[in-house]
Symmetry: C2
Subunit: 268 residues, 2 copies
């Protein structure tokens, strides 16, 4: 892939601040950046947005809103307030979407899934007011008890269709969904609801289910086929993000991590 | 659960020989044992089968056959030969079923899934001759590159229905499938094809995707609901196995591991 069609997610170079992420992305010729909210702390977002535009960088995603299932009403209110801040940040940056990490089960899976559906439906009008698109990220089933009860693209498609809003779609990361026999058909089904496409590769053994990912090409996923499906049958026309949560790469110099990401993307 | 309705899988006390596994199961009042093939090495199976019967223990499963996808014709022939030995062992022990760990992808997932279907179809007549039932085990998606490309009960049901043999069914382990929104309906669909039901609990963080499991009650799975679904809508009437692959419990005394398993099962 041409890096102009790719976006560098800030977590790939965890520890780097917004300026460093943007500089690295621009130096390598990325077309955009995906931003975790930790790099937005204390940043003037109007100013940052202008500087990113001047560098020729889109903001492909802000990560994250979500965490809808909560054990108490107070915690649900806190999650709601935080999700509105996330919408405001995505709006200020003109991001393509706000990624929703929907939240894990505190006990009953079916109840957690109801809270996710209700939470997105409640957030939708607020996001619509500022023109921010919400992207449900189906996550690997090994994260069902820690990050998200939405564990497949089939399930995310069901959820998004049930909500039935043109600003609620899907963020699809190869790492979370590559194993699924139904993936090609579900990408076709998602179609114009694909708001974000992300790449990370699958490597084993898993040492911690959150941060054992590989750079494109380090693992076993057919990323070329995945991107082709998203482009051709899904019709996704946006930038493809590289988002690598990896204890191994986080221990490396950010420059080396971006170099490896760029090489991996070039081979897709 | 009454332990008379449960079975102790040998891997829960990895390192113990067949005699020790059987003695522990009998002492605690288990109704049966599930046997990994490592405990059968060098054992006279006719004699072992008679002794297990005398102890009042069924053999609920032999683990494992499978590993159908192989990169070369020679390795496929070796897998075929090994699977026939596994069928012979399950026959000699009068086991309820031979569990099939179907094998991982060496590259193309769809091709691996074809090799799984073809491999089971090829093994079926041999198993039928000796009356051994084959139980496809859907495994957690995090094992798709190391153990099995059959990653959900939906997929296992599709596979087993496509093969269409009354001796080819399913081994269902809570650990592998608990996250799946479609699980209750798929248990109903499996129905009389449920040849084996196994319990392990989900605990995080994952330290190695194969052996991070918890004893019943240590994790987040609604095991009571799972067993109820298998019994009521699935119609499963056999013994429920406790099969805990756990580096943590393997470091403990086998007596303590069985004690913990028995306590966990009693609370289900």
């Amino acid at each position: 892939m041409d890096l102009a069609h790719c976006s560098l997610n800030s977590v790939t170079v965890k520890g780097a601040g917004l300026t460093e992420v943007a500089d690295l992305a621009a130096q390598w010729g990325f077309g955009g950046v995906g931003l975790w909210r930790d790099v937005l702390d204390g940043v003037d977002l109007v100013d940052a947005s202008a500087r990113l535009r001047q560098s020729g960088l889109r903001v492909t995603s802000v990560c994250r809103g979500g965490m809808f299932p909560q054990p108490t009403a107070r915690l649900r209110r806190e999650a709601t307030a935080d999700n509105r801040v996330a919408v405001d940040q995505a709006h200020a940056l003109g991001a393509d979407c706000l990624v929703l990490v929907c939240g894990a089960a505190h006990g009953d899976l079916a109840d957690a899934r109801r809270q996710v559906r209700d939470g997105i439906a409640e957030l939708e009008p607020y996001a619509r007011q500022s023109g921010v698109r919400l992207a449900v990220e189906p996550m690997h089933p090994m994260m069902a008890s820690s990050r998200s009860v939405i564990t497949s693209l089939s399930e995310a498609n069901d959820l998004v269709e049930a909500i039935g809003s043109d600003i609620v779609g899907i963020a699809l990361d190869s790492y979370h969904v590559w194993w699924d026999a139904a993936l090609p058909q579900q990408i076709t089904r998602a179609g114009e609801r694909l708001f974000s496409v992300q790449l990370a590769d699958w490597v084993t053994p898993i040492h911690g289910e959150l941060s054992s990912r590989g750079m494109p090409g380090e693992g076993c996923i057919d990323l070329t086929g995945f991107v082709a499906d998203c482009r051709n049958t899904g019709g996704y026309a946006g930038l493809v993000e590289v988002e690598i949560l990896s204890d191994r790469w986080w221990a490396a110099d950010p420059k080396d991590a971006v170099h490896a990401a760029a090489n991996g993307l070039a081979a897709v």
